[in-house]
């Protein structure tokens, strides 16, 4: 049976790896190539790499770094950050990434999802959506540019549009839970799960194996991604790259 995917998510910032809290306070946690080597040894299910600076500073994906990471990796890889064309996506796949994620560019120009899907196949197109829970009204608001730019399009509406245009996976990243290690937003997960027919991955809030188990129990086979959980150890958040899976990976 198809098992849930337990996915470390690594953030690239100024040449190193960082971990943020609610998209703020980036803290240096190590070297990207070294992290890939460690995760190889731990035989992880999948790895997600996100360049935090690319969209904000307006630069292209750093191909030499991506090539080094892909050559080193013996796990499936997903890259996100600054991708705005099908041509870039094709180049990233050609360096050895299985999946390419888009966010800001797809919200500005949704047809990009279709263009990427035609170029690299729907199975390789990931749409990552950063969301914040609304304070006054129920529901969630979509953000891009590391939480700085707010979008009007309703979350579920955009999820469904992305899937109909050819997205092969939707990654939902909770800004509120980022780095907090208090558990996934299960209501958010259930809402999106009920609305789309593609694989879904949740990111933001995982702080223990129990949190991952709770997500699987709530929505079934799923991608459970985490940053802090795989790079910090103990109450003082000492940097230690580690990996573990829940016992039940299906519901």
């Amino acid at each position: 049976m198809l098992r849930s995917r337990i996915i470390p998510c690594l953030l690239l910032h100024q040449g190193g790896l960082v971990k943020t809290r609610q998209f703020k306070e980036p803290r240096y946690v190590g070297d990207p190539l070294n992290a890939v080597k460690i995760f190889n040894e731990k035989e992880v299910d999948e790895l997600m790499l996100v360049d935090l600076d690319a969209t904000n500073e307006g630069y292209e994906p750093r191909m030499p770094l991506l090539r080094n990471l892909a050559t080193e990796s013996r796990m499936p890889l997903c890259y996100g950050g600054g991708v705005s064309s099908a041509e870039q996506a094709s180049r990233i796949v050609a360096t050895g990434f299985e999946k390419v994620s888009v966010s800001a560019a797809a919200l500005d120009r949704p047809i990009l999802i279709k263009e990427m899907s035609e170029a690299i196949g729907a199975q390789s197109v990931v749409v990552t959506i950063d969301v914040k829970a609304n304070r006054l009204f129920a529901g969630y608001t979509i953000y891009t540019h590391n939480g700085h730019r707010k979008h009007k399009q309703p979350l579920i509406d955009f999820c469904q549009q992305a899937v109909s245009l050819g997205a092969g996976e939707i990654v939902i990243n909770s800004i509120d839970r980022d780095g907090t290690m208090v558990g996934y937003d299960l209501a958010l997960a259930s809402q999106v799960r009920g609305a789309i027919d593609t694989p879904m991955t949740m990111l933001g809030g995982a702080g223990s194996i129990e949190h991952m188990q709770a997500l699987i129990d709530a929505v079934g086979t799923v991608g459970a991604a985490a940053g802090s959980f795989f790079v910090f150890k103990g109450p003082y958040r000492a940097v230690l790259i580690n990996y573990a899976r829940p016992t039940r990976l299906t519901r």
Binding site: L2, S4, T71, P76, A119, T198, T221
Partner: protein
């Protein structure tokens, strides 16, 4: 010497890295001379069926591979879309495949998939051997392999299916006919099981 056919599609770097780790002689090439002297071939492939076929035809390597594989009986292993193009045609495109293993590439039927299993088939899944195969020697079948696809190989001759995976129903994930074999999953991204498959292919 194993040649990883570098025709412009697929993850040649990761496959080459695996052979490096296994310390097995290999080359990544599209050079006719080098391909002629190789003993066996890896045919990678990612993306859409038609785009992959067009790239392969455009590389001018189809006749050479046909000659080496069918004329001289050398072994070839197709991976992912490199496996699908071994068939006759695909639901995903209009171009004919290589037709080396009779079969049609069909879209996985969403209706046959139980609640909460979605398309594409993405992630780690167990496999089942349908017939003894030295390609799978030393493989932990329950741990299985990494899959990432929405189409599957529907072989004309059931005897060409060597392994299946359960997704809604059983679908072929490894096919073989004579010296031609294909794998739907990504052995280059499947840790120890992937290493075992490549090692087995090199020593078949």
């Amino acid at each position: 010497m194993i040649a990883i056919v570098d025709y412009g599609s697929g993850n040649v770097a990761a496959i080459s890295d695996i052979f490096k780790r296994l310390k097995l002689p290999h080359t990544v090439t599209r050079d006719h001379g080098e391909l002629r002297v190789a003993e066996r071939y890896i045919l990678p492939g990612v993306g859409a069926f038609d785009a992959t076929m067009r790239t392969l035809r455009g590389s001018g390597l189809v006749d050479l591979l046909n000659d080496e594989v069918h004329g001289k009986g050398k072994r070839i292993l197709g991976i992912c879309v490199g496996m699908q193009i071994l068939g006759d045609a695909s639901d995903e495109g209009d171009l004919p495949g290589l037709g080396w293993i009779p079969g049609h590439i069909c879209r996985i039927e969403a209706a046959a998939i139980p609640e909460r299993l979605k398309l594409p088939h993405m992630g780690w899944n167990a496999v089942r051997l349908e017939t003894p195969s030295s390609l799978f020697e030393g493989v932990d079948l329950n741990r299985g392999f990494y899959f990432l696809h929405s189409y599957h190989f529907n072989a004309v001759d059931p005897a060409s299916v060597i392994a299946t995976v359960q997704y809604g129903r059983e679908i072929a994930c490894a096919v073989a006919r004579g010296t031609v074999s294909g794998l739907q999953f990504h052995p280059e991204k499947s840790h120890g099981n992937g290493l075992a498959v490549f090692r087995n292919f090199a020593t078949l």
